[in-house]
């Protein structure tokens, strides 16, 4: 092999202006996409028209610079001149540029702080849209030049990806949330550049520089590249619509199935990665790869939600019966509030006190099991008839709301005494705890290091609990307590523990005088003996919960507590916005102020409707990260600790919390999300759509693309038709009258062929007029042979004649065309006729 070369024999028509425009659009997509992603991602305060217009102008200038594709001669001096001017611009605007830069950094850091609950320091810099605009414009000036070089001058998808990927990665890592249009701009820009860069480019085969062969190859390359750009861009729009409506729904189903598996892997990877990062406490960046529930492991407030990396499945619950109420699974239990955290109960104090309670074996387990044992005992005693009438009355009294009726397995009645069985399988939840339902029985393998605090996690056996639902236990025990003759060792221990709870779980933090005063004003009746009456819990709850929901706002993304501030005080007095942790903390303090022993609990709240029946007859629910929750447990005299839901809008509300009408939380309560979901009647649909588009929802962007596609297709078809029509009627201005008449005749000849005339019949065939007349006849008012002959004579004159025909001849030719063609079309079938008119433009 001694050589190869490529020769272009025929190339399509070159349209330098169209190609230039395509290049500019591609560059605009890239440059404006990055700019828009940055601005919307971090909510940067800018003068939008100025910054977008400025970037567009620089994109056009950069396109002009790279238009010829060579960086030779004067262009080198232009680069040098640009560098000088840019340096001068930076020098003149250095203060503004630096201020804008600081604001930019502040915006990014603020987003990071919000996302990761960190408190990275920011510059003390006032926000000024003008300075930010100058900063962004000067950055975009350089960036646009760079983009032009990799998009237009030497299209290279790899370099573009290497430049764009870090920007997007940093943006997403730093909590940037770019708008949907920006992402679409970048998508189409990237696809276009990718397609451009794939075009064949091997100049060594294109001939020697300056040769005609080289010129033709370059022209062909330009044609091919830009045509592909346009083709891929158009296809991209159409495919986007297709992907949105047809592919995405199917993918969603598959991805959701896969999520449960991948989330676990993802969590493990993130745990490993985050373990490599430096962790700093006391206000620093603190990342944990645990779920929301895992973040409450040490009672730390404000930074306790962790960094949930996905929709993790934390626990799987399998119950022998379908619960009729939310199942609360206790994890961490906080007794004393201080230094922005809840502290676990003191084991030393507990075991010291328990030594006097005559408990058997481990006093901690004994106290933990006390509600279960007492309920069991009460039910058994009732069933045995020893305390028959009263206890039976107590048990049956509640009907649906009492006894085992709460377990809606249809087996209430005869098997009322049987506790249910609940298996709790830990999937991704923190392993520090055993997640225990209320009124459950724990065997000796469990350890409660803090006495009456959290149950430590164990791996000895599966967590299979016998338990009574909270309402069952409460109603049975209330009934049991109502009979003064009932007394047992268990009851005496319960009384001792109640006294202990009243002694140790009543502390309130200092300050908060107003709140304390408010609570005391309620004058809740607490018996002199110290016993809290059974109905006291409800009374207090009816005060505390509405107070919190009316005066405070639920927000999952509540801002972090500033350094030096107290978590509770900041929530109660400053931010007044928070999530379950905030509400539970405040409620615990308020319950205590009202005279009831209360504790802070973090764990999982699993709504009853999450339990789904399984083929083997059990009921299974999977608690995900968003089921992790914080709530209050209040000691009810003669019953024990009972959970009280204090968070507005929580999914697993134990009881329906009455929300004041019109408050912000109403919408959230209904669906458990932050969105109000309110849609004012009479909203203008157009303005609603525009606002949604600006917000960047995917469906609105797709809708826009549909409209664009529709307009483009309509425009293309119309344009095609108009062009064809102009050609057929001889209205091309660049052609002479003779040539236009020839064009008209050509269109007529094509119509005849389309109508079925034999292709062997040439236009110069002596029998042409007779054959043509056959296709024109048959209609009601057929065009006769005379018109055809006159038309034919005119065409012959136009083609072979020596003289230039006049405009009136052209009009005459058009007249013949208009008479003859419809008569030919009338002979055709309807569909074929439609096609001839709509597509071929006859």
């Amino acid at each position: 092999m001694t050589g190869k070369e490529l020769v272009q024999v025929e190339t399509g028509k070159s349209h330098p202006r169209v190609w230039f425009l395509a290049g500019v659009i591609l560059l605009l997509l890239e440059a404006e996409g990055i700019l828009m992603a940055t601005v919307t991602g971090w909510d940067l305060p800018v003068n939008a028209p100025a910054v977008y217009l400025g970037t567009a102008v620089s994109a056009v200038l950069a396109s002009l610079f790279f238009y010829e594709g060579r960086l030779e001669g004067k262009r080198r001096y232009m680069v040098f001149l640009f560098v000088l001017l840019y340096a001068g611009l930076l020098f003149v605007t250095q203060d503004t540029f630096l201020s804008g830069g600081k604001q930019f950094v502040n915006a990014v850091v603020s987003a990071v702080n919000r996302e990761y609950n960190s408190s990275i320091a920011v510059f003390s810099q006032t926000v000024d849209a003008g300075e930010m605009t100058v900063f962004l414009l000067e950055i975009m000036l350089v960036l646009t030049g760079f983009l032009a070089s990799v998009v237009l001058w030497r299209p290279d998808a790899l370099i573009l990806a290497l430049a764009e990927f870090p920007i997007l990665a940093v943006m997403f890592l730093c909590a940037g949330e770019p708008s949907m249009p920006a992402l679409f701009f970048l998508l189409f820009g990237a696809v276009g550049t990718y397609a451009s860069s794939r075009s064949f480019r091997r100049k060594a085969l294109w001939g020697t520089p300056g040769s005609e062969q080289r010129k033709r190859n370059l022209e062909c390359f330009e044609n091919v590249q830009k045509k592909i750009l346009i083709a891929v861009g158009t296809a991209g729009v159409v495919l986007s619509i297709f992907a949105f409506y047809l592919v995405r729904p199917g993918l969603n189903v598959q991805l959701e199935r896969a999520e449960s598996v991948t989330a676990r892997v993802e969590n493990r990877i993130m745990e490993s990665l985050i373990a490599l990062l430096p962790q700093s406490e006391n206000g620093g960046l603190s990342l944990t790869a645990e779920t929301d529930g895992g973040g409450v492991q040490d009672g730390m407030l404000g930074e306790t939600d962790g960094f949930a990396v996905g929709s993790l499945e934390d626990l799987r619950l399998t119950s022998s019966v379908k619960p009729s109420e939310t199942v609360y699974l206790k994890g961490f239990i906080g007794s004393t509030y201080g230094e922005n955290r809840w502290l676990a109960p003191s084991g030393e104090t507990f075991f010291s006190a328990a030594s006097n309670w005559q408990t058997e074996d481990d006093p901690a387990l004994y106290i933990q099991n006390l509600p279960f044992l007492r309920t069991m005992y009460a039910l058994n005693m009732t069933a045995d008839g020893e305390n028959g009438e009263d206890a039976s009355a107590g048990s049956a009294d509640g009907g649906e709301n009492s006894g085992v009726g709460a377990l809606s397995d249809g087996s209430s009645g005869g098997t009322a005494a049987a506790p249910a069985e609940l298996t709790v399988e830990r999937l991704n939840a923190v392993s520090s705890y055993t997640y225990v339902p209320y009124n459950a029985y724990l065997n000796e393998y469990y350890d409660i290091p803090d006495g009456d605090g959290a149950v430590a996690g164990q791996s000895v056996q599966d967590d299979i609990f016998s338990w009574f639902p909270e309402e069952t236990s409460s109603s049975v025990l209330e009934a049991w307590n109502s009979d003064e003759e009932n007394a047992s060792v268990l009851d005496r221990v319960e009384a001792s523990y109640e006294a202990y709870a009243r002694q140790w779980y009543m502390d309130v933090p200092e300050g908060l005088d107003e709140l304390k005063e408010l609570c005391e004003e309620q004058e809740f009746h607490v018996e002199e003996t110290g016993d809290v009456p059974a109905d006291g819990v409800d009374d207090v709850a009816e005060f505390v919960i509405p107070y919190l929901t009316e005066n405070y706002t639920y927000d999952m993304n509540a801002e972090a507590v500033p350094e030096g501030e107290d978590f509770l005080t900041y929530f109660l007095e400053e931010s007044k916005t928070g999530y379950s942790t905030h509400f539970a903390t405040a409620a615990v303090v308020m319950f205590r102020m009202c005279g009831l022993p209360a504790r802070y609990v973090a764990g999982y709240a699993v709504p009853a409707d999450l339990f789904a029946v399984q083929p083997e007859g059990t009921y299974t629910a999977v608690a995900q990260a968003d089921n992790s929750h914080a709530w209050v447990e209040v000691y009810q005299s003669g019953v024990g600790w009972v959970p009280v839901e204090t968070t507005p809008g929580a999914l697993g509300t134990k009881a329906q919390v009455e929300m004041p009408e019109g408050t912000e939380q109403n919408g959230a309560d209904e669906d458990g999300s932050q969105e109000n979901g309110t849609e004012e009647d009479g909203n203008n649909p157009f303005s609603d759509f525009v606002s949604r588009l600006l917000d960047g929802s995917l469906d609105s962007v797709i809708f826009c693309m549909e409209i664009v596609s529709l307009v483009a297709v309509t425009g293309a078809v119309s344009g095609h038709l108009i062009w064809k029509r102009r050609c057929h009627l001889g209205k091309r201005k660049r052609l002479s009258v003779n040539e236009n008449i020839r064009e008209i005749f050509r269109a007529f000849y094509e119509v005849l062929l389309y109508a079925g005339m034999d292709t062997a019949v040439a236009s110069d065939d002596p029998r042409f007029t007779e054959i043509a007349a056959e296709y024109c006849s048959g209609a009601e008012n057929p065009a006769g042979c005379r018109e055809i002959r006159e038309f034919y004579a005119l065409v012959l004159e136009a083609v072979y004649g020596n003289t230039d025909l006049q405009e009136k001849d052209l009009i005459r030719a058009r007249k013949y065309y208009r008479e003859l063609v419809p008569s030919v079309l009338r002979q055709m079938r309807f569909i074929r006729r439609i096609k001839a008119v709509v597509w071929r433009g006859y």
């Binding site: 092999m1 001694t2 050589g3 190869k4 070369e5 490529l6 020769v7 272009q8 024999v9 025929e10 190339t11 399509g12 998808a157 790899l158 949907m180 992402l183 998508l187 696809v191 990718y194 397609a195 794939r198 075009s199 064949f200 091997r202 085969l205 062909c220 390359f221 044609n223 091919v224 590249q225 045509k227 592909i228 083709a231 891929v232 296809a235 991209g236 495919l239 986007s240 297709f242 992907a243 949105f244 047809l246 592919v247 995405r248 993918l251 969603n252 991805l255 896969a258 999520e259 991948t262 989330a263 993802e266 990396v309 996905g310 929709s311 995917l698």
Partner: protein
């Protein structure tokens, strides 16, 4: 390689999007994943359509030329689609008919919508013989170079005849003559019964070759005089070529054997061309026994080419290199007489491949 890179790159993007779609709750990654899948599918199907619209013809602008000249093979690529083809690879297989050696040559190209381009390959042959051009594979790539699809080039196996370089051989002979002092005894090529022996001297006539002018005599006669060669219209001047070779396979394995064949062709070409330049119309005769076998008894396999000008000379060489060598010995005299029994001939040379391509020193024979 480039395609694999593109494929790997796109695959990586899809996997990355999948990971993001699984780990990120936003709707865009899922849409993007769908878009990427649809885009790949669209590219695949569009490629199928595009490949069907591509037509490739391989052709040889020149079918035969001397060994020192380049062989030009052209692949004409016609794109009937309204969409351009950004990248395609056109390749062909060349085959040396004598040795059976094969090689593949490829070249990337592009074609505009409704356009036509020519990928031109220039090759140089190592030996004399016939090079057959077999249409190779034509691969069309999609717009992102993710997929490629083979399209069938137009059928046809054009052959190129690599002719011996007769000028070099002639120059070599002339040099040899000069080296040996030009004596008749020392020059085997110019024996006393040379085919160009002068039969007559006559005045110059328009159309006579310049080299036939007898300069000395012209000076004496003060008019241009030319030598009349011994060629006559009714006596055929023949050069016999014996294409017998005992080991045909050696040509495929041994470069030396192939070089000997080249030398044989070159000597034959030189001898014929010298006669031609001397203005002697002559015939080159050889036996094509394989052709005779194919014809199954029709004819006796003798091939006779008349060389009367440059064009017929080239035609003779082309036919010669196309003739397969024979592993059967043929009696050329006998075969010739058998075929052209009523013709008188005069043999002026006989070359045998088996004798190392050298001209046998034989007396000029005449016969009928």
């Amino acid at each position: 390689m480039e395609r694999m890179k593109s494929k790997a790159g796109y695959g990586a993007v899809v996997v990355l999007t999948l990971i993001i779609a699984l780990t990120h709750e936003g709707e865009f990654p899922r849409f993007l994943l769908g878009f990427e899948v649809v885009l790949a599918a669209a590219l695949f199907f569009s490629l199928k359509v595009l490949a069907g619209k591509i037509e490739v013809h391989f052709r040889l602008p020149v079918l035969a030329d001397s060994r020192s000249k380049e062989i030009v093979v052209e692949a004409e690529i016609v794109n009937h689609s309204i969409l351009p083809v950004p990248a395609l690879t056109a390749g062909f297989i060349w085959e040396d008919v004598i040795s059976g050696e094969r090689g593949t040559v490829q070249m990337p190209a592009m074609a505009d919508s409704r356009g036509r381009s020519v990928a031109r390959f220039r090759l140089r042959a190592g030996h004399c013989g016939v090079i057959r051009v077999l249409p190779g594979e034509v691969w069309v790539k999609d717009y992102l170079a993710l997929f490629r699809r083979k399209t069938a080039p137009a059928p046809g196996n054009p052959e190129y005849a690599v002719l011996p370089d007769w000028t070099e051989a002639e120059a070599g002979s002339a040099e040899k003559r000069q080296r040996t002092g030009g004596s008749e005894e020392a020059d085997g090529d110019r024996s006393g019964d040379d085919y160009s022996e002068i039969r007559d001297i006559r005045p110059y006539r328009r159309g006579d070759a310049r080299h036939s002018i007898h300069w000395k005599l012209s000076a004496k006669m003060e008019d241009l005089m030319v030598r009349e060669p011994s060629d006559t219209a009714d006596t055929a001047v023949l050069i016999f070529l014996d294409l017998y070779t005992a080991d045909k396979d050696a040509l495929a394995r041994s470069d030396q054997a192939r070089s000997e064949l080249d030398r044989f062709y070159e000597r034959a070409a030189a001898a014929s061309h010298r006669l031609l330049t001397d203005g002697v119309r002559h015939y080159v005769v050889w036996a094509d026994l394989e052709e005779q076998e194919k014809r199954a008894g029709s004819g006796n396999g003798i091939v006779r080419y008349e060389v009367r000008d440059e064009s017929s000379f080239r035609g003779m060489l082309t036919a010669l290199v196309h003739t397969p060598l024979s592993s059967r010995r043929a009696d050329l005299d006998l075969l010739y007489k058998e075929r052209f029994s009523d013709e008188t001939f005069r043999e002026v040379g006989r070359l045998s491949l088996e004798a190392g391509g050298s001209r046998k020193r034989e007396k000029t024979k005449t016969g009928k």
